[in-house]
Amino acid sequence: MSFEVVTSSFRVSRRRGVPLVETLRIGGLAGLAAAAFALIGAYVAMDKRHVIENSLTLSQIAFALIAIAAGQVAGRAGEGGRTRPPLATALFHGGLAGLAGGAVVAALLLLLASFNLRTTLVAASPMLAKALSFGAPIASPQALAQLAALGAACGFVGGLVAALPAPVRRAVTGGFWAVLVAGLFRDVFVSIFDNLPALPGLEGMVFGSGGIEPGGAVVLFALVSGLVLAKDRLAGARKAAGGGAASKWRVGLLLAGLCVLPLVTDDFVAQVAMLVALYMLMGMGLNIELGLAGLVDLGFVAFFAVGAYTVALLCSSGPLAVADVSFWVALPVAVVLAAGAGMLFGLPVLRVRGDYLAMATLALGEIIRLLVLSDALAPYLGGSQGIIEIDPPSLFGLSLKSPASLYYLALALAGVVAFISWRLQHARIGRAWLAMREDEDVAQALGIDPVASKLLAYTIGAAFAGAAGAVFAALIGSVYPHSFQLLVSINVLAILVIGGLGSLPGVLVGAIVLIGLPELLREFGEFRYLFYGIALVAMMHKRADGLWPASRVGGDADA
């Protein structure tokens, strides 16, 4: 195996050319990115969402961000990649890159106005040309010049950001993100304000009908920037003392937030939180397989489906039901059946390694979906009509129908599962999994039975997915084959990768970022998987350990 050996196979190296050419290249690339963003229809879709009331839309911010990023990169590259270039160089190169990017977008605008591209590119509509002209007559010289000037201005800002001292830069970006989040998720914050009696009147001052008020934005920006600056100072002073407890605090804070979330918001947010909890359950299942044992499973959704269909068949009062028992009886059955299915699948498949395993499991998952969908099994599983009228679970005579109560059910299950996986991870079998993930042959030489321990990982992961499926069936009240597409498996995989492979808090963070945020931004649903794809690639390049990396289990601290 020649993977680790570096003989004369070429290395990745960035050749830097003349700074001016490099700057123009960066600007051109940014312009192309912005043009692509417009041509896939994202610009027009996001132009309807105001982040700052009546002044800035989401797509304008996206364009500005692209230009600012280009300016920042160019500002640095102009000085040969130094982290903090002199102000004048940074400003010059940043502005130039922004200008180049703006020029590319202006060229796109000209193209849109002069040719009818709609037969080929569905998003190249007059609406896009109008939006890109920013109020000026469509594709007039004025509109074109305006685009280039705006690009240059944003690039200038980017150059300025590149030249700022690091703490100031952190403060500015912190403030910016705070305003963006507040504006984007206005509905969530407004619902929180509505439920808190202590702060009457504040809501109207900060939030408008679609986003954050300009005044509120300025105040928020100043507040968060100040906080970040202050925190930086404090952290600098505290650095000598060491801060190992920070991670625990963060976990505690996140958990506390999760527990009270549905109480202080509305039903919609509770429903989203419910989905997040569901995906956490699945994520922890796949975490055992992929994160610990290193098994790439793209057919994970099959076990989710087994759990969901078991509960559907056992709890439905519809015509296809085989029994009508309570959810609490059906749940263990679903878990056991899913685990059984995992074992059944795992036995033959687990002798296959690496990429092959990904393909084999993917094919298995698709086979299950196609079988459930087919007319052949329709008399038993309902085919594309699915199974309906699943009774909601009840507890002490109380029917758990509201999203909030189902959320707590899923959260409780997720807690149990998290505890189990935490214990497993630190047990003998957990270390065996980790050893196998790192090198299967060596692990086998150390006396670990690869098939048995893989099979265990697969079975446990499947059981967790089955539990998630059971709750899913109870939540929706019906199951259809189209809920069990490959995309679900990819979702779960993406959660793990984004959150950090093998990291339990990572699963939580990943589920919030990949399931919660897109659900709250429903209107952009068609760009959701594009975002996933970009996120997966970007994470692998920039931060392969995930947003919340796993601490090295079995390392010095734990052994």
Binding site: S8, S9, G294, L364, L371, G533
Partner: protein, 365 residues
């Protein structure tokens, strides 16, 4: 495993197998036997059911061969990349989709000129060239983003990057071109059917099959005869040794991705010639089928890709009528993909080296 099957003939060997095998082996053997029994019962039932005439079966088989040649073209991309990098390009199916769309726009332009109807034999290569160029370009992009940065690390990163890129390609295409089906314009006389030995055979299928074989032959010639092909085979054999004798490994990898992408582009255009309609999501299942074909033939083996593709195509075309019909399953054609995926799983489990066998496959998989 395969020794176990005929080990029973000699006394002693069976006892030896029993001593050495674990319960997993027994379960696997049981699965094998179960699949064989299922297949044979289905086959017997299908043959005696008499729902279809011989002419039906022949036309199914011709369609299967056409699909098989497309699978083979896609499989080449997997096989070549695997041969050199020992990794699977998960986004390869979407490369095919991009090639298909590039071909659509080229065909649209040629149609406006009237060339498509007047001289389809001249137009088809042009459309194919457009598909090849787009496929090669996208494939190069994939190499640049998902494989080159991770060339020296052994991790899941390339696989996950490729999965991400597959989504980026699909959903970018969806944003650019919309979700509705796009119809290819007709290729003049390459429409309609031809009487072949008394059986009506659609001409597009013959054209696609013929074009696929021509392109495959060209590729085999390149790999067998050209210096580039020699370099590719050397890198596939041993990357470091190839580098030591002065082969630019990076360039060979790039060339491999480009050729694989071009082949996928050809497959995309020919698919559209047969089916007339394309969507942005068609790459997924065709990609898996292409992968199945590559494995079936023995991954890393170019001739195997052709064989695997044809076998898979014919099995998929005949399977529902022959085997599933035997179980009196309603609407057996719904389960056509199950046959393809099922074959993929079975080969991966029981014969990962494929039909022709390939020494390379045993190294990692």
């Amino acid at each position: 495993m395969s020794e176990a099957m005929h080990a029973g003939r000699e006394p002693g060997a069976f006892a030896e197998w029993r001593r050495r095998s674990t319960w997993v082996d027994h379960v696997l053997l049981a699965i094998r036997a179960g699949v064989a029994v299922l297949l044979l019962t289905g086959l017997a039932g299908g043959l005696t059911a008499g729902t279809y005439s011989l002419a039906d079966f022949v036309s199914f088989a011709v369609f299967g061969l056409t699909m098989g040649s497309l699978y083979a073209l896609i499989a080449l991309g997997y096989t070549m990349v695997y041969g050199i990098l020992r990794m699977i390009n998960f986004a390869h199916g979407d490369v095919m989709m991009v090639g298909s769309f590039a071909g659509l726009f080229a065909a649209g332009g040629l149609n406006d000129l009237g060339l498509l109807r007047a001289a389809p034999l001249l137009a088809l290569p042009l459309v194919l060239a457009a598909g090849m160029a787009a496929g090669a370009a996208v494939s190069l992009g994939i190499e640049r983003v998902a494989y080159r940065p991770f060339l020296h690390v052994r991790s899941l990163a390339p696989l996950i990057c490729a999965i991400g890129l597959s989504f980026v390609l699909q959903y970018t295409a969806r944003g650019l071109f919309g979700t509705r089906n796009r119809a290819y314009p007709g290729f003049g006389w390459m429409e309609g059917t031809l009487d072949l030995f008394g059986l009506p055979v659609p001409i597009p299928q013959l054209v696609a099959f013929g074009a696929a074989l021509v392109v495959l032959a060209g590729l085999l010639a390149v790999v067998r005869l050209s210096p580039l092909g020699k370099a590719m085979r050397a890198v596939a054999e041993d990357r470091d040794a190839a580098a030591l004798v002065g082969i630019d490994v990076g360039r060979v990898i790039v060339a491999t991705f480009a050729i694989g992408g071009a082949m996928a582009g050809v497959a995309g255009v020919l698919y559209a010639v047969v089916f007339k309609q394309i969507t942005v999501f068609m790459g997924f299942s065709l990609g898996i089928k292409g992968f199945a074909a590559a494995i079936l033939g023995g991954i890393g083996n170019l001739g195997g890709a052709l064989l695997g593709g044809l076998v898979l195509g014919v099995a998929e075309a005949l399977g529902p009528a022959l085997v599933l019909e035997g179980f009196h399953i309603p609407a057996p054609y719904q389960l056509k993909d199950v046959i393809g995926y099922g074959m993929l799983v079975m080969i991966l489990i029981f014969r990962p080296q494929g039909l022709l066998g390939e020494r390379l496959a045993s190294k990692r998989a």
